[in-house]
């Protein structure tokens, strides 16, 4: 996306700048609403989030820039098989039903701040706690880096290269870290609310416009039949396994993203949490499905693009709509605002989560005597340090390393047995979970790294993701060790 033609004129860019700067004002309001100088207030908004804010922050956090840009690109390349992405996001909500009610009640009772707080409460094993926290950190770091890179490209596209990639990344990161350190979760959740509204409105508007202007599924079907009829072939058995494996990644991986778990902790009561998750069950339909349709529309309109070209599928459709006079500059500004909002809301949440994990799970263990106020100050400094380092890496990291940053859910999914089994099986032991997590992670990371470094090992043996194979190994080891260690008297 190095186009030198600016997507927006001076008016549109000014609107975007005002919107981005308004986030700092919201951050300041979040700071003013602070009730106490504690970790719980800073990282969980004092566990007082109401329905609207909780739902919108869950929504804005779960749907990143990848939803708006990457999902449409994938639909362009894979055709109707990209419909798996709808179930991928739904399955995460399905997993919330399994663990959220129990975990919420425990978090309220024992004041959990991070996911690893639960792991430590349940298993009382420092090595396991730190290992789980480290996996969460690595997944979040990769998440932040890939999203920062995306935001840099969008700034270049929006301004036609007038603002270079590096300056774009630095400026938007600076805004994010300012409002995040001012009011913590409260500021992040409030900015997420605004970003969530823009995101939802942008996606729905573009979907409806496409239906009116081109004619919806019928138009897509006829155009693809003429240009690329291979897309109608149903998935073969290996692709079906891959479909199921993708769903598993959503169920066991996306659902336990630390920033999602922390939003569960932040609800002001269980009824609020229940209603928020209930609404979230429908969001894949009006967000992911709509973006898949945008990608299919791009395939119908502009067949024959390569992989890089397909990543710009959404923008191509928008430009075409603009040329037809179906949308004005306002719509373009709205969609680009939605894309930037989606990325920022994900990065700020991941940043806050990383800061909380380093402060609570690592630093507090080394300095247990530190007060809540001191820990909060350290957490803010950690946020600045993480962001500075992430910005540096986003600008200088070579392309070969970027491929390794795709490893996110493969890591996180290995933590899921500690949470799911820990909540439901009282007798399960820390050592079983720790060994399972270790071998599952080694297999998943080993396979992925080898594949990305060019070794002849598939990233998805028999269609199943390396992370899911790792989880199968993880669970098998847990099961075997539990059988071996079972006390016959018991």
């Amino acid at each position: 996306m190095n186009s030198q033609t600016a997507l927006l004129g001076p008016g549109g860019i000014t609107f975007l700048c005002i919107y981005i700067l308004s986030l700092i004002l919201i951050g300041w309001l979040g700071k003013r609403a602070r009730k106490e100088n504690s970790l719980s207030d800073f990282y969980l908004a004092g566990r007082g989030m109401g329905l609207l804010v909780l739902f919108l922050t869950l929504y804005a956090t779960q749907y990143s820039g990848n939803t708006l840009v990457g999902f449409a690109g994938r639909a362009y390349r894979e055709g109707y098989q990209a419909l798996v992405l709808v179930t991928l996001l739904s399955s995460a909500v399905g997993a919330f039903i399994v663990y959220a009610p129990k975990l919420y009640r425990l978090s309220k009772k024992y004041n959990f701040i991070t996911p690893a707080d639960y792991v430590h409460f349940r298993f009382k094993n420092t090595r396991l706690t730190l290992f789980a926290a480290s996996l969460c950190l690595m997944a979040l770091a990769n998440y932040i880096l890939t999203n920062l890179k995306a935001i840099g490209y969008i700034v270049v596209s929006v301004t036609g290269g007038v603002i270079p990639f590096a300056y774009g990344v630095i400026a938007l990161s600076f805004v994010m870290v300012i409002y995040e350190t001012m009011g913590g979760m409260r500021s992040v959740a409030w900015t997420d609310s605004l970003q969530g509204i823009i995101l939802m409105f942008g996606v729905i508007t573009i979907f409806i416009t496409i239906q009116i202007e081109y004619g919806g599924f019928e138009f897509i079907y006829n155009a693809i039949q003429a240009s690329d009829p291979q897309k109608f072939i149903p998935p073969n058995f290996t692709q079906k396994l891959s479909w199921l494996s993708t769903i598993c990644l959503g169920f066991f991986g996306i659902s336990i993203y630390p920033h999602a778990v922390q939003r569960i902790y932040s609800a002001n009561n269980e009824g609020t949490l229940k209603k928020s998750i209930q609404i979230m069950a429908f969001m894949p339909i009006i967000t992911t499905l709509f973006m898949v349709v945008v990608g299919l529309t791009a395939l119908a309109l502009f067949p024959g693009l390569d992989r890089q070209g397909s990543e710009g599928a959404t923008l191509l459709v928008l430009k075409d709509l603009s040329q037809r006079g179906a949308i004005g500059t306002g719509m373009m500004v709205l969609f680009l605002s939605a894309t930037i909002a989606a990325i920022m809301s994900t990065v700020d949440s991941a940043l806050l989560s990383m800061s909380s994990i380093i402060t609570k799970d690592f630093y507090k263990r080394l300095r247990p005597a530190k007060s809540q106020a001191e820990l909060t100050s350290i957490g803010k400094m950690i946020s600045w340090a993480i962001m500075a380092f992430s910005v540096y890496l986003a600008i200088v990291l070579p392309q070969t390393i970027w491929r390794l940053l795709e490893i996110k859910l493969e890591l996180l999914i290995q933590v899921s047995p500690a949470i799911f089994l820990g909540l439901y099986y009282k007798k399960i032991k820390a050592s079983s979970i720790l060994w399972g997590m270790t071998f599952g992670t080694l297999f998943a990371v080993g396979t992925m790294v080898a594949n990305k470094l060019g070794v002849d090992i598939p990233a998805k043996p028999w269609g199943i993701h390396a992370g899911v194979w790792g989880l199968i190994i993880n669970l098998t080891i847990v099961f075997i060790l539990e059988k071996i260690k079972q006390d016959p008297v018991e």
């Binding site: 419909l83 179930t87 399955s91 909500v93 399905g94 039903i97 149903p234 894949p284 339909i285 499905l289």
Partner: protein, 64 residues
């Protein structure tokens, strides 16, 4: 329905969202290939099932 049964039902529905039954080149249904329509409809049904389970099985202190 108990929590356990509800969860099992939701996992079965989730498993069935994969278009397992389709193997030959498809017919058009409502502007979609039949397996695409199946996948989309199954995803919508799964969302409805989740919402129903949350509403009926998840009992909170606020419900009482």
């Amino acid at each position: 329905m108990s929590t356990k049964k509800s969860l099992i039902v939701s996992w079965i529905v989730l498993f069935l969202t994969v278009p397992w039954w389709f193997s030959t080149v498809s017919n058009k249904w409502f502007g979609l290939p039949d397996w695409g329509l199946y996948a989309m409809t199954a995803a919508i049904i799964y969302s409805l099932v989740l919402s129903f389970i949350i509403q009926t099985v998840w009992k909170t202190p606020e419900d009482e």
